[in-house]
């Protein structure tokens, strides 16, 4: 298959080859898993649910529970209302979640099921037990990408849970974006270090990186399918009383923060994902302002110092190296900035998710250092491969699918983003914050130096680098 990408680039309007994105519902499913005792529900054919569960399972190596409306031809013709009503009844009876988080699929979107009305009616008729929730969001697969789906479900959480209780709290809201459970854990650690009480949502830590603790005694009971992690409902309900909402990554988190601002006048601060040195500095600065302190705690300052130390120790190996970066827009924006701050040259930057803002942001980051860089949103890996065939890079950074290109073109490769189907670690070790930055540095350096050790002629092969 590796020989099947031609070097010549021609216009393609009607076709995606080797996609760099996937569809909305899987992002909604992932976000929903970040609520404690929540069962994501896919309103459509069985296949969607099976595929999303399999894909998330492959990425996180964890059980992923989600139910389906099991559409058949009848539902496609007459609408999915009776399926959803039956599903709500069955799910509460069998799986006993606190929340059912429903997302649509291209099928239920197109036949026009009105989920708000169906859910309201189900609640009125007593299908939803006291104290339990059914929330929803719309995730047509033919618009946006999995990042859009994540954003939509996170916004759905605001729409359903945010209440103004007139109880002014010291806490802040933090939306961590479409990142790994380990990143959400690291962000919570930073907030704790800063002594900032907070509601972090969604929060998949301890859901999709749950520790191995053996089978509980009551195995097989509904209680056991819900891991200990996830944002609690009472916390979600209190988000309307917070001082401020910090949203990390505009593509994944901005809509929810703005929705909350519109409902409750809680100011939304949208910033980049804190990946790399500069974006993390900005994030910590916002935390300092929010906490109304001048200096970060020593632990955070020391982490930063260690990260900079690594950058200095090995800067010569990064300098002027050409790199190609692809993946989800929020990650790619911060990572591109990080690469630039290491002296690297990101000559190709691509995301599959549509959005002109992406192009503008990357252009801004690269305008002085790599003015001729090729930048594309709504791109695919076939195009990226063609670019690389025309001018190779020293390092490729992106999700698992990049391994085809890395092998074909013999390029060092760092796995980063979603999905990673062939390695472990990504869901356990953060890439956000200074600690995450150190891990990224290690991975990138290892890739470059392993390659150097492999390629160097005998006389240049040295013990000390």
């Amino acid at each position: 298959m590796l020989s099947l990408t031609p070097k010549e680039i021609s216009d393609r309007n009607a076709l995606t080859v080797n996609p760099a994105k996937t569809c909305q519902p899987i992002g909604a499913m992932y976000a929903a898993l970040g609520i404690h005792r929540c069962l994501p529900h896919s309103h459509g054919s069985q296949g969607c649910c099976a595929y999303h569960r399999s894909h998330l399972t492959r990425h996180y190596k964890e059980p992923v529970m989600a139910s389906t409306s099991s559409f058949t031809e009848g539902a496609a013709v007459f609408g999915g209302m009776s399926n959803l009503r039956q599903a709500i009844t069955n799910i509460f009876h069998i799986y006993d979640p606190d929340v059912i988080a429903v997302h649509t699929t291209c099928l239920s979107e197109t036949i026009g099921d009105d989920l708000s009305t169906i859910i309201l009616k189900a609640r009125d008729e007593g299908l939803v037990p006291e104290g339990k929730w059914v929330i929803h969001c719309n995730t047509p697969s033919y618009a946006g990408s999995h990042v859009t789906g994540f954003s939509n479900m996170t916004t759905g959480m605001v729409k359903y849970f945010a209440q103004e209780n007139e109880r002014h709290r010291e806490q802040i809201n933090l939306i961590p974006g479409y990142v790994e459970p380990s990143d959400m854990r690291e962000i919570k650690r930073l907030l704790a270090e800063m002594e900032l009480p907070s509601v972090v949502f969604p929060d998949t830590s301890d859901v999709l990186d749950a520790p191995q603790q053996g089978a509980p005694v009551s195995v097989g009971k509904a209680a056991d399918i819900y891991p200990k992690g996830g944002t609690r409902i009472r916390d979600l309900q209190s988000m309307g009383d917070s001082r401020v909402t910090l949203a990390l990554g505009p593509f994944a988190s901005e809509n929810a923060a703005i929705e909350l601002e519109n409902r409750t006048e809680i100011p939304a601060r949208i910033m980049d994902l804190p990946i790399g040195i500069a974006a993390t500095d900005r994030f910590i600065q916002v935390l300092l302002e929010t906490a109304e302190v001048l200096e970060p705690p020593a632990s955070i300052a020391d982490d930063r110092g260690r990260m900079v130390d690594i950058m200095l120790d090995m800067q010569q190996y990064f300098y002027d190296r050409k790199v190609a970066i692809y993946g989800d827009p929020d990650q790619v924006i911060s990572l591109t900035e990080f690469a630039v701050s290491l002296g690297m040259k990101p000559i190709y930057v691509l995301t599959g998710t549509p959005g002109k803002r992406f192009d503008a942001r990357i252009k801004g980051i690269l305008k002085d250092v790599v003015p001729g860089a090729r930048i594309k949103s709504s791109g695919d890996l076939f195009l990226l491969h063609q670019w690389i065939k025309n001018e190779p890079v020293d390092l490729l950074i992106g999700n698992t699918y990049g391994k085809y290109i890395a092998r074909a073109e013999d390029i060092p490769f760092v796995r980063f983003g979603f999905p990673i189907l062939d390695r472990v670690g990504h869901s356990y070790f953060p890439t956000v914050g200074y600690r995450g930055g150190m891990r990224l540095l290690e991975k990138m350096l290892d890739a470059l130096l392993d390659r150097k050790d492999r390629d160097d002629p005998e006389e240049r092969f040295e013990l000390v680098l």
Binding site: H55, E62, G220
Partner: protein, 425 residues
């Protein structure tokens, strides 16, 4: 017991859809173009996940999607599809093209037949619509859609040069190169293999598959319909076979030799089995001793695979305490009951809760399943063996029996399990 019915709305079902079924069957045809007409997700989730190997071209491993957008849903995606087909056929010169319809295409009503017919005429290759709208049923309906698509190829090629001792290998997907093992057995028996349907498949072979004297059908679900229609249309009989485990592998080879009724072939087959077993048996013994009495649980896609696994575990002196499938039929489950001992739990389309409770309740030593079962087993601290499409080890044939045994052994014996709380051994 009930089975073979639709899952309830609200189930955490392990089942998939029509598209999934047709895609996994047809995708291993390596020199065909496979274009998914729909939103991007359907193409992404089936992109190179199955590990179906090819001995040559690998066009099947790329992911092509029309990536339908909102405006296509409103105005229709027909011209987009035609444009994509033109472009891809010009670039790759495939021997045929399969166009998969997805849920959304069924709803917006794109006329796939008309587009495929038109492009086929313009480009001079078969362009075949695969009617696989997800909501029209389960995986098994997808197998039928795939077989219907294949039927349009079979019978269109030149059958000259095909001898009387000839067959098509059906229902094998060449995971980890398994079809190459099986082909070699048949060739050693003196049989000409006309077409692989569908692992390591080639369009031109499939077009002349109707020249073969016999179809051997593995994976009862996926290609049985094609075998049945070839019997009806071309008078080609079929045999249902399984290449998993010594018992079923041997029986299958003898059944094929028996079909041709040639004493020399039967003698060659006996020798083949003898030679293979002479190598295999001594190697199996040490694993067998270690595994004796251990308890196994099986949850796989098709019932036919479950039969073979039950026999395989019996050969290893292991006890099967649970067995189930996602798509079995009533007669399959009756047969499972027949070949297992009393007290064995038999399940259909089980949900993860039930699975977890059986696994724990039966104190299982090893669990055989697929991608979604692996983390369930691991979370319970139970050794696991993938017998679906994510394995990298050939499990078919005599060598496959050894590989399987080794894998079960290494999983059960791995020292890591002792660190799982509550599972000290």
């Amino acid at each position: 017991m009930s089975c073979d019915r639709e899952s309830l709305a609200g189930a955490v079902s392990q089942r998939a859809c029509v598209f999934c079924g047709s895609r996994v069957v047809l995708y291993p045809i390596a020199d065909a173009l496979h274009l998914v007409h729909g939103p991007v997700g359907c193409a992404v989730y089936t992109w190179d996940i199955r590990g179906a190997l090819s001995s040559g071209t690998e066009l099947h491993r790329l992911s092509f999607s029309t990536d339908l957008q909102e405006k296509d849903v409103i105005f229709g995606g027909e011209e987009k599809l035609a444009g994509a087909l033109h472009e891809l056929i010009d670039r790759y010169h495939p021997r045929a093209a399969f166009v998969y319809s997805t849920c959304i295409v069924g709803i917006i009503g794109d006329d796939l037949d008309a587009i495929c017919k038109r492009v086929s005429r313009e480009k001079g290759i078969p362009v075949i619509p695969v009617k696989s709208e997800g909501f029209k049923g389960g995986k098994r309906d997808g197998y039928m859609a795939a077989c219907a698509a294949l039927s349009r190829l079979v019978g269109t090629g030149d059958t000259s040069g095909i001898g009387p001792f000839s067959l098509n290998i059906m229902g094998d997907f060449n995971l980890a190169g398994e079809i190459w093992i099986i082909r070699e057995y048949f060739e050693k028996m003196g049989i000409q293999v006309v077409a692989n349907i569908t692992g390591d498949g080639r369009v031109d072979d499939i077009r002349r598959a109707h020249g073969a004297a016999l179809n051997v059908v593995q994976c009862s679900g996926s290609t049985l319909y094609l075998a049945q229609s070839m019997e009806k249309e071309f008078g080609i009989p079929y045999l249902r076979v399984s290449y998993l485990g010594i018992e079923d592998m041997t029986e299958s080879l003898y059944a094929v030799a028996g079909f041709f009724g040639d004493p020399h072939m039967m003698e060659r087959t006996r020798k083949l089995v003898r030679d293979e077993l002479a190598v295999l048996y001594p190697q199996l013994q040490k694993y067998r001793q270690a595994l004796r009495g251990k308890k196994a649980a099986i949850y796989v896609g098709g019932a036919f695979k479950a039969f073979s696994l039950v026999k395989t575990f019996r050969l290893l002196d292991m006890e099967v305490v649970m067995v189930g499938s996602q798509t079995g039929r009533k007669e399959d489950y009756l047969e499972l009951k027949e070949i297992t001992s009393d007290g064995t739990v038999i399940v259909d389309d089980s949900n993860p809760l039930e699975l977890a409770s059986f696994l724990r309740g039966k104190k299982v030593d090893v669990f055989v399943g697929g991608v979604k079962e692996r983390p369930i087993a691991y979370k319970l601290g139970i050794p696991f063996c993938d017998h679906n499409h994510e394995r990298k080890e050939a499990l078919e044939g005599f060598i496959g029996m050894l590989n399987f045994t080794r894998e079960i052994y290494s999983s059960v014996m791995s020292p890591v399990w002792q660190f799982v709380p509550g599972r000290k051994r």
